[in-house]
Symmetry: D2
C-alpha cells in the first residue's frame, strides 16, 4: 500500500449513502486519498443530508436515493447505511449497473449477503467490502510478515474488540442490526482472523458463547467464539459492549516459527497524563478527560480508512478485485450465523458455505525427526550451551531426556 | 503479604520431596522466606538426592520416603513430585499425621484430588496447595483492587500461559501427567480465574477445545476453554506448548467498573538489546541470546514463590487455612476434568463438584435506570460536553437518542 | 491535519532535486498526498537521475539544474540535496523567483541559513522547511493537547534520536555536513523541543557535550545538549550514531499540569518474534532479522512525511506560512551553532539570533497560595482521604506539616 | 542475590533510628529478610517512638539515643534520620564501636561524608550505604548483563527520578537537607549511573543545571546533570519535584554492543482502569484514584529494600564489604557537590575526590578496521542481503560507499 506512484489516477466521482458515524469516518479517510471526489451524499432526512453536505463540503445532497442511483456521472456508491438497508440498496445499485462498496457487516446474515454477492457478480459491477480493520497499516505489515513465512504455519489467531457500546440507537436493536456485539464488532474480528490464518483456509466450525450481562437489551453485549479452520489453526475472538477504559483493539497471532502482537488503540506509543486542565480537546473514545490518556496519533489512518479506500480505487482502476470483496463479506456473515447457532445449540456448529472458493490448505505439519531411533519431542539449549533432547520410544511409549 | 511484622516466627523444619525443576524453584523461593529450614530432601535415586542436597546445602538427603515420613522432627513435607505420585505420597503423609503442601496440579483428576482432600481433612493435618501464580505480587495486588470494588462486578477473566514446552520428559507423557498442556498450564489459569471472579462463584460448566498441532505426542499441545460461573462471569484460558518467543504469562480482567491487565514475564519494564557479545549470562526462558531480550528482575519473587511460602508458614502458625488449599486444588481438578470431557463431547460440560463450599454469588446486576419512562441503555458524554442518552421504549421496542 | 475537505486542490507541479535516501522518503510521502505531481527530478549524475525517475515513474529527469530552475511550469522545488548545496541552490531558486521547500537542516550554520531566509523573503517566494518529525501524527496531536492547556506551563521537553549511524557517506564528513550527529539528528530534536515549549519562547542559551566515542571519524558521534528558554523551560536532546537496537525516536514533555511520552519507532504497538524463518521481508532499520522485532505500521506516515507535504501544499494554496518555515530552520541552525560553541568552550553559550520574531513568553508561574499566613509548598491527599499541607513560615523560614 | 542458601543465618539484632517515611519502608523491607530482628527503635519524641514501635511490633522504643548506642546486645544501627543528623549520629556510633548502615544521601556534602567514612574505617566497624535503588531486582540483573559483556563498553547511562515532591517538611528546607531535588533524588541517580558505567570508572567532571520553576522554595525543584567518566562514558540524570502523573523512575544504558531500559514504577506490566468505584485501596503514589492506574506489584521488593538488607546482613556475616559502602556514599556526595558548584559557575566542574580508590578504566575502544587500505566507518546489511561499507581514505579525507 505504501509504494504508490505519484502519478495521479483520474478522479473517481463518489456518492456517499448515509450520514452517520461511519460516513463521517469515511469522509475523513477519503480526504487523504488521491484521485477521488465525493460529489453527492444521501440521507433519509433533508436536515441530516444537508448538514452532512455542509460539514464535508459535498457539492450536492439528496434524499432521493432512486434518482441518485440513476446518475451516470457517479462512478462509485458508498453504502454507509444501517445493516437492514444494505440488501435493498445494493440490489437497486446492482440492477442499475452501479459500482459499490459497502460498510461492514455486509448484511445481517449469510442469506442476505449471498444475494448481494450474487447480484453484484451477475451484474458485473465492482463490489468492495469496507472492512477497514483489515487495512490498518499494522495489519498490512503483519500480513506481509506472515505471508513471507516469518511466523511459519499459523496455529492461533486472536482478535479482540471491546468498548463501552456503540453511539447510535439502531445498533442496540437486534432486529435492525441483525444481532448485538458480534454483528457490530465480531465481523471485524472474524475477517482479521481469516486474513491471518489465510483466506484459502476453510473455516469448518464454530463454538460460541454469548450473554447479555450488563445492558438492559435483548441482543448480546458480550461474545466469545472459537473458529476451527481446515489447517487445524484455531481462531478466537472476544467482543464486548461493556468494556471500561476506552476501546481495546488488539490482535495476536502465533505460528510455528513466531508470534505477533498488534495494539491498535490503547497502547500505540502515545501516553499522556493531565490533571484535567485546559481540555477543549479530549482524546477520542477515552472514558475520561484527566489522568493517564492514550491518544492515537492519526485515528483515521491507524484504523485503516486511508489504505482501504486507496486499495478500492486502485482495484477499480486496475480492473482487479480489492483485498476485501463482497465474497469476503459473505464468508464473514456465514461465520456469524454459525456463531449465533452455536450460542443457541451450545455445541460446535458447522460454517455453512454453499459457495467456497478457497484453494484448500494442508494440516499444520508436525515434526517427525528421530534420534537414535526415537522420536524427538523437543530440543532445547541448556544454560551451559549443551543441547538437550526429549525423546519418545514409539514402541515402548517411554519418554526420556538425553543431553547431547 | 507485604506488611509482615518483623517478629521472627519459630523455624519450621521442612522435608523437600522431589529434586526436579519445581523443587529447585521452591528452594529459591524458600531462601527469601523467614522462619523455615529445609532439613532433608528425598529423591528416588541416590545420585539425584545427594546432588540436590549439595546444590542447596540441605543437611541430609534420602531415598527412603517411609522413614522420612516417620520422622517427628520434620514439621512440613513439600510434595514436589510428578503428578502420578501426589496421591500415594499424600495418603502416606496423612496417615502418619504429617502436614503437607503439594505442587500443582493437586492430582491427575478430581477423583484423586478428592481422596487427598478427604484424608488430609479427616487426619486434621495442614494441606496447602502450592499454586504459585495466584501469589505473584501483581496478582495479590490485583485481587485487593477487585475485592475493594474498584472493578465492579467481574464479567470476564482471561488467563494465558504459553511457552515452547516443558523441560522434563514425564510432562510429555499423558499417562504420567494426566494430560498435556491443560494439566501442566491450565491448572494455573483456572485457579487465577477463580480468584478473579471470586472463589464463592460456582463454576457451572465448561467448553473446551484441544488439539495436538505441532509436537509428535498424544497429549494436547494447545487448549482453550471457557468457564461459565453462576454470576454470569465468563472465564477464559489459553494454554500452549508451541508458543515461540519465550514464556507468555498474562492475565486480563474486565468488570462493570474497570479493567486490569497483568503481564508477568515478557513485558515487565525490563527491555534489553544485545548483539550477542559476552553472554555467560542469558535471560531465563528466552529463546535467543541476542537481539531484544525481556528479562524478569527477580523471577522467583515475580512468579509468586516467596509470597506463597510466606502465606503457608503464616497459616500454619496462625492455625488458619492458607489462601490456596487442597480444596482449591480439588475444584481445579474438577474443572480440568470437565475440560477434557468437553473437548471429547464437543459441547458444554457441567463441572462436577460433589463437595461445593461456596456461599453463592448473585447474577451480575443489569442497570434498570429510566428516563421519561424509557429504559436508559447507555449514557455518554459528547465532545461538546453534553450528555447523550440512548433509550428504549419497552412498549414499542423502539430505540432512540436524546441529547440532554 | 485530519479534517481536510475532500475538495481536491489543483495539482502542484514539483521538481525533486536530489535522489538519495531522503528523496526516496519524500516520494513515498508525496504518494499519499492529494493535489500534486512530481514532473521532473534532478541528480548530479545521469545514471542516478534516470534510475530515480524510473523508480518513481517521474516523467522527466535531468542533470541540468539551471534549465530546470528556469522552467515556468514547475511550481515547487524540493531541495533534497546534501547540506553544503542548500545555500547555492536556494539562492539560485530565489533569484529565479521559484517556490521552494528544503530538507533539514536548512543549512550548515546560522549564517548560511540567514542568507537563504533573507533572499527567499525578499524574493517573495514560498519557503518551507521540511522538518518531518514535527509533523508526525503523534506530535501534531501532542501539540494540540499542549496548546489547549492540558499540560499547563511546559517545564521540560526531551527529544531523543539515536541509531547506529547514517546510510550515506557524505553524512560522516564533517565538512560536507557541517558537523556530525548534532547536525544530522539534533536539528530534528531542537525543532521538536521548540514546538513543545512554544515557538514564541526565546531560546536563550545552550550547554552542550559532544564526543567521538566509537566511530573513527572527526565529527561527533554522540551529543547531549540543554537549551534554556526565556520562560524557564529547559529543552534537552540526546543524539547518537552509536545506538544499538534499531532507531530510538522518543519525545517526552513535562508541564505543571501533565506529562507526555511519545515513542515513534521502537514501541508503537507492533511486536513480533520470529525464529528467522521466511524473511524476504525484514522490518526497516531493525538490526536483526530474527528474535523480537518492532516494525512500524506505515513508516512514511508515522515519520510525518504525509502531513508535512499536506501542510506545505495547503499553505501555498491558502497563501499562508506553513507550520515549519525557513525562519524556523534558521533558529534551529542558530541553536546548533551555540551547541558547537558550547561543546568547545565547555560553558553555557548564548543563542545568537539577530532576527528574533517571537512575541515573548512569561516566566513559568510559581504558586503563591497561603494557609494561616504561611506559604503552601505542597498539598497532597493522604491514603485516608485527608489533605496534608506542607507549609513555610516566610518570617522564621520554618517548614511544617499540617493535616487539614 | 537469588541463590541464597536456605541455611538460616544467626539473627542480627537491630536498632532503627528514625520513624519517618524511609524507616517505614525499611521495616517493610526487613520483614522479608531472613535472620534479623529489630529489637528497639529511636525517635526524638516519645509519641512518635511509641507509635512506630506499636506499628511494627518493635519490643522497645526510646528517645534516649546515647543509652541505645551503649547497648551491647544491639549488633546493627540503621540511621534513618534527616540528612543533617547523619554525621553526628554516625560519629557517636563509630566512637562506641557500633556497626551501622545509613540512609541516602550519606551526608549533606562530601566533607561530612568523608568524616563519616574515615571514622567508620578507623573504628573498624561495619558501614553500609542504604542505596536501595541500586539493589532493585531489575538493576541487579541489568548489572549482571553488563558485567558479562552483553552491552559491550558502556557509552551512556541515564537515570531519571521525578515525582510531585517529597512527603515530609524537612526535605523542602535546603538547610536541613543540604539541597533540593538533587540531594533528595539525584543521589540515587548518581549511584545507579556509577554502577552502570563501573565503579572503577573515575567521575572526572560534572555539568549541571538547576532551577526552581514551580514551588515557592529556595532549593531547586528541577535539576539535570551530565557526569563525564574517564572511559569517555557520559552519565546523565534528571530529577524533578514537579512531575505530574506519579513517580517516574527509569534507567537507560547504551553500550557498544547493546542497550538496556528499566522502568521501575509506572510501566511494570500492571495496568488498570477504574471508574473510581470501591476504592478503599489506592495504588501508591498515584495522583488519581480513577482512570488508568499503574500499580507496582510489591513496591518494597521492586524498590530494592529486600535485596539491599539481604546484602548488608550477608556482608556482615561473611566479613566482606557490602555492594554499597560508606565510600560509595562519599563519592556520591562529591559528585553532588560538583553539581551544585557547576549550577553556580555555569561551567564544567571537576569532581573533587581526595580519596579515589578505583582501579582505572581505559578509554572506550574505537574501531580501526580497514578495507582496501581505507578506514571502515560503518558496515551495514542492505535489504537485499548485500553488505555495504562506508569508508574513509585517511590521506585524502574522502568518504565513499562500497557494496561488497
Amino acid at each position: 500500500m505504501q509504494a504508490n506512484l505519484s502519478i495521479p489516477m483520474k478522479n473517481v466521482t463518489i456518492a456517499m449513502l448515509g450520514s452517520g458515524f461511519v460516513a463521517d469516518f469515511y469522509m475523513q479517510g477519503l480526504a487523504n486519498v488521491n484521485g477521488q471526489e465525493v460529489v453527492a451524499n444521501y440521507s433519509r432526512t433533508e436536515a441530516r443530508a444537508a448538514d452532512f453536505a455542509k460539514r464535508w463540503s459535498v457539492p450536492e445532497s439528496s434524499t432521493d436515493l432512486d434518482s441518485l442511483i440513476r446518475r451516470q456521472d457517479i462512478q462509485l456508491f458508498v453504502i454507509a447505511l444501517p445493516n437492514e438497508e444494505h440488501l435493498p440498496v445494493s440490489l437497486a445499485l446492482s440492477k442499475a449497473g452501479r459500482n459499490q462498496v459497502c460498510t461492514k457487516p455486509l448484511a445481517r446474515n449469510a442469506a442476505e449477503a449471498k444475494r448481494m454477492l450474487d447480484i453484484v457478480e451477475s451484474a458485473g459491477v465492482f463490489g468492495g467490502y469496507l472492512e477497514d480493520l483489515c487495512y490498518t497499516p499494522k495489519t498490512l505489515k503483519a500480513l506481509r510478515m506472515i505471508q513471507s513465512g516469518q511466523l511459519g504455519d499459523i496455529t492461533w489467531a486472536r482478535s479482540r474488540e471491546t468498548h463501552p457500546g456503540p453511539h447510535s440507537a439502531w445498533f442496540w436493536d437486534g432486529n435492525q442490526a441483525g444481532g448485538g456485539a458480534i454483528v457490530d464488532l465480531g465481523c471485524h474480528c472474524i475477517e482479521i482472523v481469516r486474513n491471518f490464518v489465510g483466506k484459502d483456509n476453510r473455516p469448518l466450525e464454530v463454538m460460541c458463547w454469548t450473554d447479555t450481562l450488563v445492558h438492559p437489551i435483548e441482543a448480546e453485549d458480550n461474545g466469545i467464539a472459537l473458529i476451527r479452520f481446515e489447517s487445524g489453526a484455531i481462531g478466537q475472538f472476544e467482543v464486548s459492549w461493556t468494556f471500561r477504559g476506552g476501546m481495546d483493539l488488539r490482535d495476536e497471532v502465533a505460528g510455528t516459527e513466531g508470534t505477533l502482537w498488534l495494539n491498535h488503540f490503547l497502547r500505540t506509543g502515545f501516553e499522556a497524563f493531565t490533571s484535567g486542565a485546559g481540555g477543549d480537546y479530549v482524546a477520542e473514545k477515552a472514558e475520561t478527560a484527566s489522568g493517564w490518556l492514550f491518544p492515537v496519533g492519526d485515528e483515521v489512518s491507524e484504523l485503516g480508512y486511508v489504505d482501504m479506500f486507496t486499495d478500492m480505487f486502485e482495484a477499480m482502476d486496475e480492473g482487479r478485485q480489492p483485498m476485501e470483496t463482497f465474497y469476503d463479506g459473505y464468508v464473514v456473515n456465514a461465520i456469524i450465523d454459525a456463531c449465533y447457532r452455536s450460542a443457541e445449540s451450545r455445541t460446535w456448529e458447522p460454517v455453512r458455505l454453499d459457495d467456497w472458493r478457497g484453494t484448500g490448505v494442508p494440516r499444520i505439519a508436525r515434526s517427525a525427526r528421530t534420534h537414535d531411533g526415537k522420536t524427538v519431542i523437543k530440543e532445547e539449549t541448556m544454560p551451559d550451551g549443551r543441547r538437550k533432547l526429549i525423546l519418545k520410544d514409539e514402541k515402548s511409549g517411554e519418554f526420556t531426556d538425553v543431553v547431547a
